[in-house]
Amino acid sequence: MCLAIPMQVVELKGGGDALLDPQVALVESDGVRKEIRLEMADRIPAVGEYVIIHAGFAIRTLTVEDAEYNLSLMRRMAEVLESEGRLPGAVP
């Protein structure tokens, strides 16, 4: 479990009626588009934000900042090399 990929929300549709016209997000990535259900999203995304999609549902809404923060944490994990003054090949 659980194949899921991030895609950008380009439009929010529906929402007029929970039954006949539930709110859905239209997501897009590299020209591929899909309608995604929002019943289990932690919060309703705004257009321009990203959602992680699993089985046709958004399971999480995130911003580019959320992603970049995660990335910066990873960079910092690996940068210990420099901060400890270690150079490649040096004896620990």
Binding site: M1, C2, L3, I5, M7, E28, S29, D30, G31, V32, R33, K34, I53, H54, A55
Partner: protein
């Protein structure tokens, strides 16, 4: 003439209804004189060189998809099989098995597509056959095309001929056809960018062999099973190892995204208008440029090399520098959620 809306068993019986179908539909679009003669077989004339012969049947579902249909696929597929041994396609046959009740309009659309593909490729349908089977005995329509070609060069281009040191070139982007078919079934909107890559490759191959025939060792189109399976076949047959690099694989971003969405690996999806060219490393750069100059090969890329080895191992150097063994596909590629 009364317009039919569906195909009935009568259309396959050889009687009046059959003749109306042939005359009113097939010959309306397929204009080769030999076909019009309606003889029991076509006589092709005398040729010097080695005769190449190939057959393929087409059962694709859906019948119509972005970029093509079962008709154009059937024409291109058999032309390409001939081209992969360096043969110039001379003529094609077309055989149909139609399920009773099949839409006449769909059949007409497919025959028109066959005619268009055949004309554009310059390879005529010279003989054909039609059968109609009772409802339930065929899935709509099955098509077979068989092709005859001529190899006038002396070089033996074969799956057994890859040599250590050879370069591996892929003539264009990966997985376009396979993902188009799977996306149709998944209900994913392709946004107009993804479509089947079905196209004939005989002109590309012809140009290649005119320039550099001696340098080309293997030609193979990675259809069912995809690039990975086809490379495994080559490696096994030639008794070599092959290493390709993920960074070098040409793939459209939209195709890559669609694969990720449905959980499919592009290395195992079908390509219907691409070929693998394995050639001497000395000529590789020139061959790559030649292929890129042709419209069929504009996205060609050098994707890897052939190495010494006996086990027929194919491996992929991943984007992050890791190594992954590629095995042949067993069974159909299936989408996954887990």
């Amino acid at each position: 003439m009364k317009t039919e809306s569906i195909i009935s068993l009568d259309h396959g019986s050889g009687g009046l209804a059959s003749q109306k179908l042939i005359g009113g539909l097939f010959l309306k679009y397929l204009t080769c004189p030999q076909l019009r003669d309606l003889e029991d077989c076509a006589m092709l004339g005398e040729y010097a060189g080695r005769i190449a012969f190939s057959t393929d049947s087409y059962v694709v579902d859906p019948l119509f998809f972005p970029g093509g249909d079962i008709g154009s696929l059937a024409v291109h597929g058999t032309i390409n099989d001939l081209a992969m041994r360096g043969a110039r396609p001379l003529a094609l046959s077309l055989a149909l098995i139609i399920e009773e009740g099949f839409s006449f309009a769909s059949l007409e659309r497919i025959i028109a597509s066959v005619a268009k593909a055949s004309e554009a490729a310059g390879v005529a349908i010279v003989t054909g056959d039609t059968k109609v089977v009772p409802k339930g005995k065929a899935d709509g329509l099955f098509v077979n095309t068989t092709g005859i070609g001529l190899a006038s060069h002396r070089h033996d281009i074969s799956v057994k001929k890859a040599q250590p040191g050879d370069a591996v070139i892929l003539s264009g982007t990966l997985a376009d056809h396979g993902i188009t078919i799977m996306s149709c079934q998944a209900g994913i909107d392709l946004g107009g960018d993804i479509e089947s890559d079905t196209q004939p490759l005989h002109q590309l191959v012809g140009a290649l062999l005119e320039e550099d025939a001696g340098l080309v060792h293997v030609l193979r189109d990675p259809t069912r099973g995809g690039l990975a399976t086809t490379l495994c076949e080559i490696a096994q047959s030639s008794g070599v190892d092959i290493v390709i690099e993920e960074d070098r694989l040409p793939i459209r971003p939209s195709v890559s995204t669609a694969c990720e969405m449905i959980g499919l690996d592009p290395l195992y999806l079908a390509n219907e208008g691409k070929c693998i060219i394995i050639c001497d490393q000395d000529g590789a750069e020139d061959i790559l440029q030649l292929v890129r100059r042709m419209p069929e090969g504009r996205d060609a890329a050098l994707i890897g090399w052939v190495h010494e080895g006996q086990d027929g191992r194919v491996s992929l150097t991943t984007r992050i520098g890791g190594s992954r063994l590629l095995e042949p596909l067993t069974g159909q590629p299936l989408p996954r959620i887990c």
